[in-house]
């Protein structure tokens, strides 16, 4: 099978990779680039565990094709912290116990980041509706909503 040569920017790094036409962006991230922070929960776009940003747009990496990423800018959970300094969402997820097993956490962090980039002061209802594409089976969402609210306040400098 002919493989596509793709050039993309991932978490600020210029990256090139070869991929099969059948490989999703998730397969490329995990299997070709060893960026295993992005998780596979369903591979059908239902659970949100593989949420990433492509040119700033929130997508399920399992539903995007690896071969379509030429020239795109991709952000994954591995790119959120600046060195040792965690992103306010990451720190607030820890502080509010917004994660237990942690398998949904990378996707929820990316989805929350996408929300706060559009709406720096979301209401509880807006947070819950925005995150409705990200399944979490451990927390019951309570502490996740609290963490996003707290991170939003911190990022607004409130």
């Amino acid at each position: 099978m002919a493989r596509y040569h793709v050039n993309a920017t991932i978490n600020g790094d210029e990256v090139d990779y070869l991929c099969d036409p059948t490989q999703s962006l998730l397969d490329v991230l995990r299997d070709e680039l060893q960026l295993t922070g992005t998780k596979e929960g369903c591979a059908t776009g239902d659970c949100g565990a593989c949420s990433v940003l492509v040119d700033g747009v929130l997508v399920c990496a399992c539903l995007a094709m690896g071969a379509e990423m030429n020239g795109k800018t991709i952000e994954t959970v591995e790119g959120m912290a600046q060195g040792e300094k965690l992103h306010p969402l990451q720190q607030n997820f820890i502080d509010h116990l917004a994660l237990q097993c942690g398998i949904c956490t990378p996707g929820l962090l990316i989805a929350s980041k996408a929300l706060l980039e559009r709406n720096p002061d979301p209401s509880e209802e807006e947070i819950r509706l925005w995150l409705a594409g990200n399944l979490c089976r451990c927390t019951g969402y309570n502490n996740i909503v609290d963490a996003v609210k707290a991170a939003a306040a911190e990022m607004r400098g409130a």
Binding site: Q34, T44, L99, G102, G140
Partner: protein
């Protein structure tokens, strides 16, 4: 329940004293940073050099004889390195073992791993392939020719119990029926549990309510699909990295299924992406090891979500009949329940566990519980958080609600009049010790929640739950490092991430050092003695007993070191507030030695400071909880919206209270999903119709409100800090509480779970003419 608790078990009596670290908030959560940066390693994140990818061929049929399997074409495909079928595994005889909260039979486990004579459910493994890529492995699966002789199937538990139902196993003759039945059937077990005289109890009743309840099978729904990487070495040993709730139990199962010595198998538990009981059983692991042995390369296997739904989990779907009577004073005089539980393709549902939870919130004199464990053409059930309890609580708490209404007594008040307390005789054997059930009801009664006004089509429901706390084999090692920090190696898998914090806090409490100076480190199977799995709410309770025991042994060692330095006897040294001190003024005037000082002296005075525990924990105190929920019912669509939710539960002593509440939020939301949406749906051919998160709909953030959790603390008498298991109780009451709330909102009782919009709408429509007539 298997054997009675061992008389050689370990209990440490409750030690009433001020705790400094326990009950607070640690400054450090050891697992969390790697989880938020994406660096935590789950099983699917592990890759070994030269690894192959393994895939499983699964039955498309619900029930069929497996006449032949031809792998010859698949083996010719370039890149295919190994294929296994039933012929590659030795058959096993009946041999029972504990696995989580359920009991397994190896004769069945090997057949569930890979089908032998028959396939028994849609998704049953038939063959497994290892190839150089996933694409080649999948292509190879299509080249395997399987000759099935399709048989009639049975999915529903009531249908499976009928005399003319298709029989899954010719060797199942109902146990518990005397004389032994002449014909095989799908009823593997009939159990009975009783107390007093049920007939007499019903004679004393002024009101009797009898109802039948049905519940659908639901899946644990962990977001991480099963994944394993296996490497069979040329030295004849097997290394396995996997997602498991119990690596020692998995090691034993892998060894048994493959005919290996336990000493030759090493299992490393990876970070676990959710289990809830569903990761108590091996599925991929032995297949991966066998494929690796044949291919002489590491093999990685990861299930798809479709495979997770079709072939792992779920919990039992059930049919339950509940009949209870009460007198005019509001005292329950008789309680009867019949529990018919799906076991899936092989015997062994959660029936035995469910049977002990049926009425164990009430102080009763006359009880009869009858249960049937029923096989049917579904995946073998696995434990799911308080296995079997939510469904029968749905029935019992519903009937209790109806009794209270019939007697015109407030539902909390009715429960208080009948509440189990210390000394209550259970119908399954023991008397209850000190418990906090009444306290949870009182806390609910006094709560702000009950003061909130309700609008039109809104209703409030309450329900309660009981679950025991498992003990079992538990091991831990603590090393006091040269700099006075402590490393504690634990053997219970940390399923939620809170256990590591809890163990650090516990060691800090015992040693009088800061929790940040303690690191809790997960074990693989090579570094500790056998340790039972994280199940039955035992992780932090039993795990902490081992950690405390090991730490106290290290303290003895530190006292010995101080004694040698001071040239006194070890019993002349005490350990207090993080220091070894002379036991009294007559011992001598010695400056107390801190843990770092003792660590520094250790080398000269005898060597490294460590402590071990290998104990069997017994008699851990059970947990009780009361839930209150407000719902709004949309009469046009039948949709039920949860408006407010409150949990009141006895934690004994919460080690890390915020985390305890977090677990309760999660348990309640799983229960809300079970109540309102989740169900396995099979089509006429016995194939699962909704094996994905789109059609098997678990709650999302916008489905649920903020959840109020309030902790009651009635100490467990057999734990030094009074800790009880906390993780399972919160999933028990939600289904019943929501059903009671729907009734309060609409005047219509629900007897089927899930109470999904079509069912609620149908129930409202059915009741409408009747209500109009009234």
């Amino acid at each position: 329940m298997g054997r009675a608790p061992t008389p050689y078990g370990t209990m440490i009596k409750y030690e009433p004293k001020a705790l400094h670290v326990i009950g607070g908030k640690p400054t450090d959560r050891p697992d969390a940073v790697d989880k938020v940066t994406g660096r935590a390693r789950y099983a699917a994140d592990i890759n070994l050099p030269g690894q192959l990818i393994g895939k499983v061929l699964r039955s498309p049929h619900a029930h069929a004889n497996l006449k032949s399997i031809d792998t010859s074409e698949a083996l010719k495909l370039p890149g295919v390195k190994a294929i296994v079928t039933r012929d590659d595994f030795e058959d096993l005889e009946n041999e029972f073992a504990a696995s989580g909260e359920l009991t397994i039979n190896f004769k069945d486990v090997t057949r569930n791993m890979i089908a032998r004579e028959k396939v028994l459910y849609d998704g049953h493994p038939v063959a497994a392939v290892a190839a150089t890529s996933e694409a080649i492995a999948k292509k190879a699966l299509k080249l395997i020719k399987v000759d099935y002789e399709v048989l009639p199937h049975v999915i529903n538990v009531v249908e499976a119990m009928k005399p003319d139902a298709p029989v899954l196993h010719d060797h199942i003759f109902t146990i518990g029926v005397d004389p032994k039945p002449e014909k095989p059937s799908n009823i593997a077990l009939r159990m009975t549990s009783k107390l007093g005289d049920i007939e007499e109890g019903f004679k004393q009743a002024d009101v009797i309510i009898e109802r039948e309840y049905n519940s659908a099978a639901t899946h644990q729904g962990y977001i991480e699909p099963h994944a394993s990487v296996a490497n069979y070495t040329d030295g004849g040993t097997a290394e396995v990295w996997t997602g498991t709730q119990g690596h020692f139990v998995f090691r034993a199962q892998i060894a048994k299924l493959l005919g290996m010595d336990i000493s030759k198998v090493k299992v490393t538990p990876c970070e676990l992406g959710g289990g809830f009981g569903g990761k108590n059983n091996v599925y991929l692991e032995p297949l991966a090891v066998k494929l690796s042995q044949i291919a002489r390369r590491p093999v990685k296997m990861v299930m798809t979500r479709d495979e997770v739904f079709r072939a792992s989990g779920p919990t039992s779907g059930t049919n339950c009949k509940v009949k209870m009577g009460a007198n005019k004073d509001g005292k329950i005089t008789a309680a009867y329940a019949e529990l018919n539980y799906q076991a899936g393709a092989f015997a062994g549902s959660s029936l035995n566990l469910a049977s002990i939870t049926v009425f164990t919130r009430y102080d009763l004199e006359n009880v009869l519980v009858i249960g049937h464990d029923v096989v049917c053409n579904r995946p073998k059930v696995a434990a799911y958080r308080a296995p079997g309890a939510p469904m029968i609580a749905f029935g019992v708490e519903g009937v209790v609600d109806e009794l209270a209404e019939a007697l015109n007594i407030d539902p909390i008040e009715f429960r208080l009049r009948n509440a189990a307390k210390e000394g209550t005789q259970t119908h399954f054997g023991p008397k209850l010790g000190p418990i906090g059930y009444i306290e949870t009801l009182e806390k609910a009664k006094a709560s702000e929640h009950l003061k909130q006004p309700l609008g039109p089509n809104q209703g409030r429901g309450i329900a309660t739950g009981f679950w025991f706390t498992l003990g079992m084999e538990t091991s831990a090692t603590i090393n006091i490092n040269e700099d006075g920090t402590a490393s504690v190696i634990y053997g219970t898998v940390d399923v939620t991430g809170g256990m590591r914090s809890a163990f650090s806090m516990i060691v800090a409490e015992e040693l009088g050092i800061a929790p940040e100076k303690v690191r809790a480190i997960p074990s693989d199977t090579s570094v500790l003695g056998f340790n039972f799995m994280t199940a039955g709410s035992r992780g932090t309770t039993a795990g902490s007993m081992a950690v405390i025991t090991a730490t106290r042994k290290a303290i003895e060692r530190m006292c010995e070191i101080a004694a040698r330095k001071w040239e006194v006897e070890p019993d002349q040294v005490v350990f207090e507030n993080g220091h070894a001190r002379p036991a009294g003024s007559n011992v001598g005037d010695f400056e107390p030695l801190s843990v770092p000082q003792l660590a520094k002296e250790a080398s000269w005075f005898g060597g490294t400071i460590a402590g071990h525990a290998e104990i069997n924990v017994v008699n851990q105190g059970p947990g009780f909880g009361t839930h209150v929920v407000d719902v709004e019912v949309d009469r046009q669509t039948g949709a039920v919206k949860v408006l407010r939710y409150s949990i009141f539960q006895d934690a004994g002593k919460a080690v890390y209270p915020d985390f305890v509440k977090g677990q309760w939020h999660g348990g309640a939301v799983q229960g809300i999903g079970m109540a309102l949406n989740e169900e396995y749906i099979y089509n006429a051919n016995g194939r699962l119709d909704n094996p994905g998160f789109l059609d098997y709909r678990v709650p999302v953030a916008s489905d649920v409100p903020n959840i109020n959790a309030e902790i009651v603390e009635v100490p467990n008498p057999n734990h030094p800090y009074g800790v009880r298991g906390v993780g399972e109780v919160p999933i028990i009451p939600p289904v019943a509480a929501i059903a009671n709330a729907i009734y309060d909102a609409t005047g219509v009782r629900m007897y089927e779970q899930p109470m999904s919009p079509p069912r609620v709408l149908a129930a409202l429509d059915a009741a409408a003419p009747k209500m109009a007539a009234e």
